[in-house]
Subunit: 325 residues, 3 copies
């Protein structure tokens, strides 16, 4: 066979001491400031590389299985692009409804099959804890791309990375979370990551959608200053980051209550007139009407740059876990 | 990080003066004979390259977002293959039913998200004008792969390119369009492109499916000779190109009328006995029964070569828009 | 255009004498021991290559159309990974429900369109004989990835390859097939391939799911020793290979009969205590409950290694058919 068999010894060349090599990425609780620094440093390199030359060959010949049990164009596209811009390739498994997993196959069996083909598995699954189960069974690394109301660690990492990239630091900032703080998985994970820094936290939500008490307790335990509010107008003048999420009508038992409060959580150009000149508006997207389209032209609107950061963070994680960063 | 950071300066190496660099491709109205010549020249190079060596590395490291809001195996596969044969990679987004776009996200937001990951966006959408909206919001180039009953410019380009490749010229030809000329998007776009040349046009359709009057007026305004007919048998002996489309039963209020006329629009070996020796039969495919399978063996049956030309045209457009042709 | 036009003459460099070059792979009946030896040798090289360096560039620039009319995550992922690990790219066509094929396009037309874009077509289709029809119409090679209750030759090849890899030989072995031997496509194909070797065959199934008589006749005609049983416990101590498939409740008209026999076809650690120390348990997967999860930790459980072998066999076939092995 005309195959080149030169002993490239990919394993020997790998950076196995970066703290991520062959590790699963399941929860934000795995991260401390040292690990965040490392990943953010790599992600920044990735940004420069993409902006200057578009792609690199770090993961050439490596295969990612992108296993999505529920749809998420944004996250799956971001991981695909991340792998491709590092020279690797992707097996996209989106149409799980049609696949053997609907014939009753267990997640462990599916994962152990896919790791026969791929070097790393990205998993999105509707059930809390599924990513850990997959990681327990797989011998190849698993990255959690969202497990139900559980965790979505790469989202929290890209959110925090965006704050650092946009403002240049995290310590010393006042960060407001706005909207559905009760069910918002991204809010919970970002709050946990922010708790590693010297920040002040501002929580803005309707009464029925306040941050869960156990998370408030975690923030208290860290000794971080925080406050809770019901109207974003009360806090907008004073914050460095406005992290906006959607308030869904379905969360309210009493629809008249929803009607009464909904406008308190919509970001408009008028509202932002009162904000600092150097602050940012973030959103995990997709949005519906919680940020008006006129805000898009405001240089403080960071949510599309936030999307781009998602790709850089995922590139950094893929490269680090596979020993190429 | 072990990343190569050599300043390749992809932008500086790009051909930014080809008239297509970073441009959107939305409508056939963007094309004049100079632009057609350029793209057809590149497409011919692409054909030679594919036939000789299969692929090139012109777009290595570039990423295409292939965003299909409605299914089209043919068009999406053609764009995927085009990108891959140029060394680039593709994010396929086919299952839009499952994705955030069904959660109510607007097309502008989806496009602005995808351009964070990709270098170019191909869009298929059921609504007229959607491609222009996407292009207005995106800062990366958008290629229209069909917007409802609007335009499908790459189809028209590949149709015209096929005529040139098969017959060696366009000027001086007599081109017949057959079938549903009222609703047929491909017929309308090809008619507009042919109007840039010195051709005679022959329109063959049932009375209820005649070419829209505004298109007839455009043809008249160009001073092109044309005629209208109800039976392909009247014209077959005399034409250089027979461009066939389907006549759908559903278009007829009176089914007996459909039954009466349907056989006038079916291409058979018997019919082609009366055609010139050097002419071609084209069809945008898929066909149902408007061209009988026996015709496939006739060397004048050009519809599968037409499919191949679709890939070459799309390779040419991708390379030109990204500055690599 | 800045394209490299060096005459690489891919055709001239291809190995056109390997017996597979540009051939369709439709049935196990195409294989004799010489061909099996060749493909298994290449597959073993592929395994070493993947384990040492992950991927090769043998099929760089080549495009595979992965056309799945019915879902099969396992098989489609395996072919995708195989092509990608050889440096090639893939057009995945999974959502056939949405595509032009549901508009009534014939399989021949779909195949002739896809071969305009791709160098090779992998086809999964629910109808017996469809792969042969596709191959008859396509001028590019077609690989059958399962045509209904017909054949699934790459599955049979990977099954046989697994036996050879795990035990080191095929001649002289005693191989038991367990479960649904009547409808099990994989059992039928593997039985045919095993008949080329000097093996003893043991068939274990409920009375209503016995091996079809014509297959028994084929085995007899080869002069191979064989026996039939209704309980796996009768044979487990004596076999080198236990090839397990599922017994589905739906196959039984009389449900009480199913309840009575079902436990005779479940592989447990207790059962395996009586098996040889050097034997293997195989399963085409997905499994439901016919192999208990505790068995997974037994080193004789070969079914996940079998999955990996599927990729190596498909790599070997793709490389051989495209003249690169």
């Amino acid at each position: 066979m005309a195959m080149v068999r030169a002993p490239i010894f990919a394993q020997l060349m790998a950076n196995t001491n970066n703290g991520f090599y062959q590790q699963d990425i399941i929860s934000v609780r795995q991260f401390d400031r040292v690990k965040l620094d490392y990943i953010f440093g790599v992600a920044e390199e990735m940004r420069h590389m993409v902006q200057q030359i578009g792609s690199a060959d770090l993961l050439r010949g490596r295969v990612l299985a992108n296993l999505f049990y529920e749809p998420s164009t944004r996250t799956s596209s971001s991981f695909m692009a991340a792998m491709q811009r590092l020279g690797g390739s992707v097996i996209p498994i989106n149409e799980v409804r049609y696949s053997s997993v609907t014939k009753g196959e267990s997640l462990p069996d599916t994962v152990r099959t896919l790791e026969c083909y791929a070097d790393i598995i990205v998993l999105r699954h509707p059930e809390v804890g599924s990513a850990q189960i997959a990681a327990d069974y797989a011998s190849k690394p698993v990255i959690n791309a969202g497990d139900g109301t559980g965790e979505h660690p790469t989202q929290a990492l890209l959110d925090l990375f965006t704050i650092q990239e946009e403002i240049g630091r995290i310590d010393g900032l006042k960060v407001a979370m706005v909207g559905d703080l009760k069910y918002g998985r991204t809010v919970h994970s970002l709050t946990r990551l922010l708790s590693l820094f010297d920040v002040a936290l501002v929580f803005v939500s309707p009464e029925v959608l306040r941050l869960p008490r156990e998370l408030v307790d975690e923030v208290k335990a860290k000794g971080l200053p925080f406050s809770e509010h019901e109207d974003v107008a009360e806090v907008v003048a004073d914050v460095d980051v406005l992290y906006v999420t959607r308030v869904q009508r379905e969360r309210f038992e009493d629809e008249s209550l929803y009607e009464k409060v909904k406008d308190c959580y919509v970001i408009t150009p008028e509202l932002l007139k009162r904000a600092k000149e150097r602050m940012i508006v973030m959103h995990p997207l997709p949005r519906v009407n919680e940020i008006s389209y006129e805000v898009d032209r405001d240089p403080r609107a960071a949510y599309f740059r936030q999307m781009a950061n998602g790709m850089y963070i995922r590139m950094a994680l893929l490269a680090a876990v596979l020993g190429r960063a």
